[in-house]
């Protein structure tokens, strides 16, 4: 019984990993369909929780949700199966592609294609920047953090890790101070 459930968890997330492009939020509806409606491993509320957790923990949303749903469905082994399932398709596809890419990189058509693609990626990044901006808190502490993290990494080449840790501490401190101000 247990083994069957583990296999189900693996297979469910394998399918999700193999068929969602771009990852992240694109996976949520699929997870909902499979894990809530078909298998009843988690509830709709759990899915909302997963999104909230994924946003406040490090790492890709796909891994976060596979681990979480797997755990709820079948414990620690379930989380291992879910995570392996969602990773494996990408892993195999990209490994295969990395061979192909190295072979075809020298082709003229491929070089022309990538010339166009680089500009397209720039556009996608600008869109991602806008999406992240909309999701971010507003107000002066947030704008200070945005400006500083940009300047420190892009202009002064400070290590990204230090900038991230610094911004987390800054957020923690300012949110405490602002809250105290509200109370008083």
């Amino acid at each position: 019984m247990k083994l069957k459930k583990l296999l189900q968890v693996f297979w469910t997330f394998f399918k999700i990993g193999a068929f969602t492009f771009g990852g992240g939020y694109a996976m949520i509806p699929l997870i909902q369909n499979e894990a809530v409606e078909k298998r009843h491993w988690v509830t709709d509320d759990d899915i909302l929780e997963i999104v909230a957790i994924a946003e406040s923990t490090p790492g890709p949303i796909a891994i976060n949700s596979a681990t979480f749903v797997g755990y709820r469905a079948a414990g620690v082994l379930g989380s291992v199966c879910g995570t392996l399932g969602v990773v494996l398709p990408s892993f195999v596809i990209i490994l295969a592609l990395s061979f192909v890419l190295q072979e075809f990189q020298a082709l003229r058509a491929v070089q022309y294609a990538f010339f166009g693609i680089r500009a397209g990626v720039l556009a996608l990044l600008i869109k991602a920047l806008w999406t992240m901006y909309k999701k971010s808190p507003k107000g002066w502490p947030a704008y200070v953090v945005m400006g500083l993290s940009f300047l420190l990494t892009a202009v002064f080449s400070i290590n990204v890790i230090f900038v991230i840790i610094g911004c987390a501490i800054f957020g923690l401190v300012t949110s405490r101070i602002l809250k105290k101000g509200e109370v008083a």
């Binding site: 492009f21 990773v87 990395s98 693609i117 990044l125 920047l129 957020g171």
Partner: protein, 199 residues
């Protein structure tokens, strides 16, 4: 030991990037340039962002697998490539995996934690600033592949890149899926290439 380096580098990336996806790009750019700049150029990294977007699966896993494969492949043949991919992918997956296992047990306390909420008010805008840095970086790769001075001589490639980028920004904001944008950009690149506008 390059495999340990791959694992630890991606483990660190996995720990400190919140929000997933493109939030990882600034850190990947920084680490790849510092450690494996001789193997993977900035332009190749941008190319691979496109490949990651047009293949299934999470962006972070795709990037880790690819970089692991290239760096591992420097050590020898196929098996080294697989090992490199494996180390990088395990590295980027493991932090989330462990943290979620812990959070799944203490979820209610985690949800109400003012410390977590406080840190998030700093982390969310930080990601915006970091991605803005990545945008600037990629702009450099697209518009001035030969440095700022060469770009000022403004070749046709400079204007064509600009035209593609502006068109695709408009399409992206009209919610055209990323894979369509990448395919269109590739088609335009091939067309202008064979028209001889890029040489």
């Amino acid at each position: 030991m390059v495999f340990l380096e791959l694992f630890l580098t991606f483990f660190t990336i996995g720990i400190v990037t919140f929000g997933g996806g493109y939030a990882m790009l600034p850190m990947i750019q920084e680490q790849v340039a510092a450690r494996w700049g001789d193997l993977i150029t900035e332009a190749q990294l941008v190319d691979f962002v496109a490949v990651s977007e047009s293949t299934p699966g999470p962006f972070a896993i795709n990037m880790a697998t690819y970089i692991g494969s290239v760096v591992g492949g420097e050590q020898g043949g196929f098996m080294w490539q697989v090992l490199g991919s494996f180390c990088a992918t395990m590295g980027v997956v493991l932090p989330s995996f462990i943290i979620i296992l812990i959070v799944a047990r203490i979820y209610d306390r985690f949800k109400e934690s003012t410390i977590v909420k406080g840190c998030m008010t700093g982390l969310k805008p930080a990601v915006v600033g970091l991605i803005a840095g990545a945008v600037l970086n990629v702009m450099g790769t697209v518009f001035c592949p030969g440095g700022w001075a060469a770009a000022l001589l403004s070749t046709p490639a400079f204007y064509i890149s600009g035209a593609i980028a502006v068109t695709m920004v408009i399409l992206a904001f009209k919610k055209v899926p990323p894979i369509v944008i990448i395919c269109l950009s590739a088609a335009i690149g091939i067309a202008v290439g064979y028209m001889g506008l890029l040489d």
